[in-house]
């Protein structure tokens, strides 16, 4: 099975010179799909099956007094309910996107590169979800990051694409370093200092095995600071990949890549890897309660924060990108509150309806050649399939029953609501996430109305729109079906058991069906309200222009090019949203970007100053040697004894 995926990726890259390389890539991803579905079906028909294949990669130790038995790092695969679920997502969306690409990308140059990189990505992503230990997970994690970097920069002649690729790479790199630190910390705690009988961990380093219990407080002596820090580091890695605040900045700009890439990597699979990491960590390692609060806070805040930015954006892809950040926030929130399987369920449904939204948007862009919502209009007539698909995706996203998003989002809110009694600190984040339901429904239908309703395009220069070829329509139809149906799977007993077993493996009771009926009704009403507001403002070709009041105008000119558009808001409520949105943007642009640039300047300045030392004069160098010698003496004779005497020991 594993070999199949390796072959898919490698073969994909080898075939780059062929004219019909696209179809070859489709065929291979089709093969991957078959394998993925077989594995997924196998798990569903026999929930709770675990398959592990592994061999030792490198062996550390043994070292007397450090670790008596040595530690082996293994490479292997683990097929369990969680990874089977993820594999299903990766292969299904991967195959559909490959197919769609045949139509969408046929105008572009560099197609062999595109298919090779996409195939490599699919192989790496499959490897990631099948990895049976953290280190292997990290290797594939880096690999998908590299693929993402290449694919964002696919149009590398475009400076904005190249810089977006670089930004994505660097920002996620911050997360990756934290992730690696987290691995080391867990390693030092579990593999080395853990009590005997920790099974996979003590003997094998980082292995997830069936029956690994989260060792959390009970076995490791309370909420140790080290474990908390380790959890925060893992969260940092996840936040980088899943674009959570404050590392969210790269995802909207990543929309410079082809839309297909946005659908596959930046909506359905890779960005979800961060959530998957959190889920796996919470199931196999466990977080401390402080970690959980931080994760809930980050998730809840991001959910709302990103939704406010989606409210105002004129670019169809970026609206969906902000929406992705926001939805990932829901998943992080659920995992943080201890409902890993609930978060993964949302990941599952979200992958389908968000890929659907992106591919539908891609279809629109393909037809009219612009991403500006305000130039579009009236597209529902020439593009019936796309309009319907986008609407289904939108309804699923907004959480209208019976579409998929309703079931999973409702599960998150319901689960969180049930925790509020024991964790009152979750209240503000629950409210933020609840409020985001309204915004979500509003922004996605604002996009739909702007693009599809009305009599015709606002910009008459747009080319006459037409539906794409069949290879583009089929994925839309299939994903539409999944956007409706994937949520209903929850009613199939076997699927329920599957999720139960995934959670049960770690002894965490899964929470399903705790949704409060009243809460569900409230969130549906809220979502419907959002849609209604969108209709009121933007429906039927209407466009709202908010006259800038004098109070906000100077701030706005100071801050916003992003929001300074033909964007208007209703006078009820929306101005508050507007202010919050701008505040969010302020934080985004000044505090975070400022910090980043500050560091940049600091290093550049430091570097410049240090360079002056390199004078090239040999007498100077000799002086450094003598100065260094004196410094060594000071260290040896004064500083080190003093530190050791005061701090004690090493």
């Amino acid at each position: 099975m594993v070999a199949a995926f390796a072959i898919v990726g490698l073969a994909g890259t080898r075939l780059k010179r062929l004219e019909w390389g696209g179809w070859v890539a489709v065929a291979f991803s089709g093969a991957a799909l078959v394998v993925g579905v077989l594995i997924g079906a196998g798990e569903m028909l026999d929930p709770g099956r675990y398959t592990v294949v592994q061999y030792t990669w490198l062996h550390l130790g043994p070292a007397p007094g450090v670790f008596p038995n040595g530690v082996s790092l293994v490479v292997g695969t683990l097929v369990d309910p969680i990874s089977a679920l993820m594999l299903l997502v990766v292969t299904v969306v991967g195959f559909l996107v490959m197919l769609y690409s045949i139509g969408y990308m046929h105008h572009d140059r560099g197609l062999p590169r595109y298919y090779a990189e996409l195939s490599l990505f699919l192989a790496a992503m499959s490897g990631l979800v099948l990895a049976n230990n953290l280190l292997e997970f990290f290797l594939f994690w880096e690999l998908v990051g590299v693929c993402s970097y290449f694919l964002i920069g696919f149009y590398y002649e475009k400076p904005s694409a190249a810089s977006a690729a670089k930004e994505a790479f660097l920002v996620t790199r911050v997360g990756d370093v934290m992730f690696l630190l987290g691995i080391f910390l867990y390693f030092s705690r579990y593999a080395l200092a853990g009590p005997a009988g920790l099974g996979g961990w003590a003997a094998n380093g980082f292995v997830f095995t069936n029956g690994n219990q989260p060792f959390l407080a009970s076995s490791m002596g309370g909420n140790s600071t080290l474990l908390t820090v380790a959890g925060i580091m893992i969260l940092g890695g996840a936040a980088g990949k899943s674009a959570q605040f404050p590392l969210h900045v790269w995802l909207p700009d990543a929309m410079e890549g082809p839309t297909t890439v946005s659908a596959l990597i930046h909506a359905a699979t890779m960005v979800a890897a961060g959530v998957y990491l959190l889920a796996v960590t919470s199931l196999f390692l466990g977080f401390t309660s402080l970690d959980q609060l931080v994760i809930v806070a980050i998730g809840g805040f991001t959910t709302f924060f990103a939704a406010t930015m989606a409210v105002v954006h004129p670019d169809i892809k970026r609206v969906i990108a902000y929406s992705t950040i926001s939805q990932l926030g829901y998943m992080v929130l659920a995992v943080g509150a201890g409902f890993a399987m609930v978060g993964l369920f949302h990941l599952f449904t979200h992958a389908f309806f968000k890929a659907l939204l992106f591919l539908a948007a891609g279809s629109v862009i393909h037809a009219v050649g612009t991403q500006d919502l305000f130039k579009m209009g009236g597209l529902r007539k020439p593009m019936r399939v796309t309009a319907a698909a986008f609407a289904i995706g939108g309804l699923a996203l907004a959480g209208i029953p019976p579409f998929a998003g309703f079931w999973s989002k409702d599960d998150i809110l319901g689960s969180l609501y049930s925790e509020l009694g024991t964790h009152p600190a979750y209240w503000p984040f629950f409210l933020l996430a609840f409020a985001a339901v309204f915004l979500t429904a509003y922004y996605i239908f604002r996009a739909w109305f702007l693009a599809f309703s009305g009599d015709g395009p606002r910009d008459p220069t747009l080319p006459h729109a037409h539906e794409g070829p069949w290879v583009m329509q089929v994925p839309l139809v299939v994903l539409s079906a999944l956007a409706v149906g994937s949520g209903l799977l929850i009613f199939w007993p076997n699927f329920d058991t599957l999720l139960l077993n995934g959670a049960g493996a770690a002894g965490i009771p899964p929470v399903f069906g705790t949704s409060d009926l009243l809460l569900s009704a409230a969130s549906v009403i809220l979502a419907a309200g959002g849609i209604a507001l969108a209709w009121r403002l933007w429906g039927n070709g209407r466009v709202f222009v908010l006259a800038p009041t004098s109070a906000v105008a100077p701030v706005r000119t100071l801050l916003l090019n992003r929001y300074y558009f033909k964007v208007g808001y209703d006078w009820i409520g929306t101005r508050a949203v507007y202010t919050v949105a701008r505040a969010a943007d302020f934080v985004d642009q000044f505090v975070i970007d400022g910090t980043v640039h500050g560091f940049e300047r600091m290093f550049a300045g430091l570097s410049e100053r240090l360079r002056r030392i390199q004078s090239g004069l040999v007498s100077d160098y000799a002086a450094y040697v003598v100065a260094g010698l004196l410094a060594v003496f000071v260290l040896l004779l004064l500083v080190a004894p003093y530190l050791i005497a005061t701090v004690g020991g090493k």
């Binding site: 450090v66 190249a162 990756d176 370093v177 160098y621 060594v632 260290l635 004894p641």
Partner: protein, 528 residues
């Protein structure tokens, strides 16, 4: 004394010496073609390497329980000048691989180039000194062996005798080197004053220093300064960049890939005893007058040097525009990582550092070989001159990219494995060593910036307007260049081999890692 029993253990050294003398003899006889002397050097290094590998293979690495016999004598005697340790053997292997790669690549240089015998002869002579360092059991023997290497490398830097930049570099190298040697010997004499011996085992076995205890700290302080010159630790590194930049690039490859590790191994030898074996210096603390353990004092000092070295090296590398200087600073920062090994002083840490040193031969040594080859193609020295190399020389660029990625510690390369083993060993040791690992990780992240810049320039930037096919022109001008895409077969093989090993060992490190780990355990348990 039976001559055979004395000579046999030194067989690799004898082979190298013979090859060296043969090369110089041929020089006198006016046999100076690069191919001939080069082949001799390659053969000498290869035979010596085979002997070392055979020793490693059949020596009692397999079992810790068996006491080493034959060539390996892990337990030194308190009077011996030299002792054969398995870690020393591993380092001999590393040094010989570096020499082999450099001489292999240099065979591709123009066959009528002046000074070829001098180059290859000195290369082998320097290697001889390096091999002797690995068997040293006595401080004076150690410093003399280091000196043999140093003097050979001073001359190597200036062997062309033409380029004023090389001459200037050699002068700087020599002056700072002489100063450092003085410091080292002074330190050794102070230690002699404290212990009454210069034998490293005897020092280890001594119950405590005689006489004035601060002599010990002073002596080791001088030794740190003296050896840090060779290992390019900040702030004793300033010569390195000018010398790496000014020296002929193949010599730079040898300096960075080979001879610099001599300093690190000397650190291993000299500081293992004071770090591992708890001795207290009465009145060591100037504040309390209380006795202070020597080990932590040295660990803290070396730890500060390690962090300083990696940080300064990386930050300065960020700003370099010339490829050679950038790699030189990167080489300095790598020395900081390697120093972590002896600072932590546990067997896994020393194994990690040794693996890092092993990896560095293929990463940095071979990277300089690439730079030398690229210069021979008529491409300029700046990073920006590498624009579009990816399309013009795809294989060479991919090999170079692998080296840079490995230097950055990207997974699936040997550089990742070595950093992982090293840093996890530091984390295992707990205490402030965790911070060494953190500093190393942050530095690795920082270093990605400048390595990634080269990758971007090579693969994403378009080639300069006038495609520099001067390489072809040079090739047409004489027999000097060079099949295999203008690089020459020898250089192509050396580069290809390095790139392949980076990936192979990265994917399947166990054979190499296992041998190194066993050797490190020997070293810590029984060696000097």
């Amino acid at each position: 004394m039976d001559v055979a029993s004395f000579v046999l253990p030194f067989l690799p050294e004898v082979v190298l010496l013979a090859a060296t003398l043969l090369i110089f003899l041929l020089d006198v006889l006016h046999v100076r073609r690069t191919e001939i002397v080069g082949a001799l050097a390659v053969a000498g290094a290869a035979v010596a390497l085979l002997l070392v590998v055979a020793d490693l293979r059949f020596a009692p690495l397999a079992s810790l329980a068996t006491l080493p016999a034959g060539r390996i004598d892990a337990v030194g005697s308190p009077t011996a000048l030299f002792a054969f340790t398995s870690l020393g053997l591993v380092f001999q292997g590393v040094f010989l691989i570096a020499t082999l790669l450099v001489s292999l690549a240099s065979v591709s240089r123009p066959s009528d180039e002046r000074g070829a015998p001098i180059f290859f002869g000195l290369l082998l002579l320097a290697t001889l000194g390096m091999l002797l360092v690995t068997v040293a059991a006595d401080l004076i023997f150690l410093l003399l062996a280091v000196e043999l290497t140093s003097i050979s490398t001073y001359l190597l830097v200036a062997y062309t005798r033409r380029d004023p930049r090389s001459l200037e570099a050699a002068m700087k190298f020599y002056i700072i080197g002489a100063l450092s040697t003085t410091l080292s010997f002074f330190g050794a004499s102070l230690l002699y004053g404290a212990y009454g011996t210069t034998n490293l085992y005897a020092i280890r076995l001594a119950a405590g220093p005689v006489g004035f205890p601060v002599l010990v700290l002073l002596g080791y302080g001088f030794l740190i300064a003296g050896l840090a010159f060779k290992a390019t630790l900040v702030p004793f590194h300033a010569w390195a960049v000018d010398v790496y930049d000014g020296a002929p690039t193949d010599v730079t490859a040898f300096l960075a890939g080979g001879s610099k590790k001599v300093g690190l191994f000397a650190f291993f030898l000299v500081f293992l005893a004071p770090i591992l074996f708890v001795r207290t210096v009465g009145g060591g603390s100037p504040f309390t007058g209380a006795a202070v353990g020597l080990g932590p004092v040295f660990q803290l000092t070396l730890g500060v040097l390690a962090v300083l070295t990696m940080t300064v090296g990386n930050v300065l590398a960020l700003l370099q525009k010339e490829m050679k200087r950038m790699l030189a600073y990167s080489s300095i920062s790598q020395a900081g990582y390697m120093l972590i090994g002896i600072t932590v002083g546990t067997a896994p840490a020393i194994a990690g550092a040794t693996l890092q040193i092993f990896a560095h031969v293929f990463m940095k040594g071979a990277a300089f070989l690439v730079v030398g080859g690229v210069a021979a193609l008529g491409i300029g020295p700046l990073v920006d001159d590498y624009r579009g190399l990816g399309t013009r020389r795809p294989l060479l660029s991919v090999a170079f990219a692998l080296m840079l990625l490995s230097l950055a510690g990207v997974p699936l390369t040997i550089g990742f494995v070595s950093k992982f083993v090293l840093f996890s060993a530091a984390v295992q040791a707990q205490g402030f060593f965790v911070w060494l690992a953190v500093a190393g990780l942050l530095n690795s992240a920082l270093s990605v910036f400048y390595y990634a810049r080269v990758l971007k320039v090579m693969f994403f930037d378009p080639a300069p307007a006038a495609p520099a096919d001067r390489g072809a022109v040079v090739g047409a001008s004489g027999p000097s260049i060079l099949p295999a895409g203008g690089l020459g077969y020898g250089r192509a093989v050396a580069i290809g081999l390095s790139a392949a090993l980076i990936v192979l060992v990265g994917l399947y490190p166990q054979p190499v890692l296992g041998a190194i780990q066993l050797a490190a355990q020997h070293f810590v348990a029984t060696g000097a």
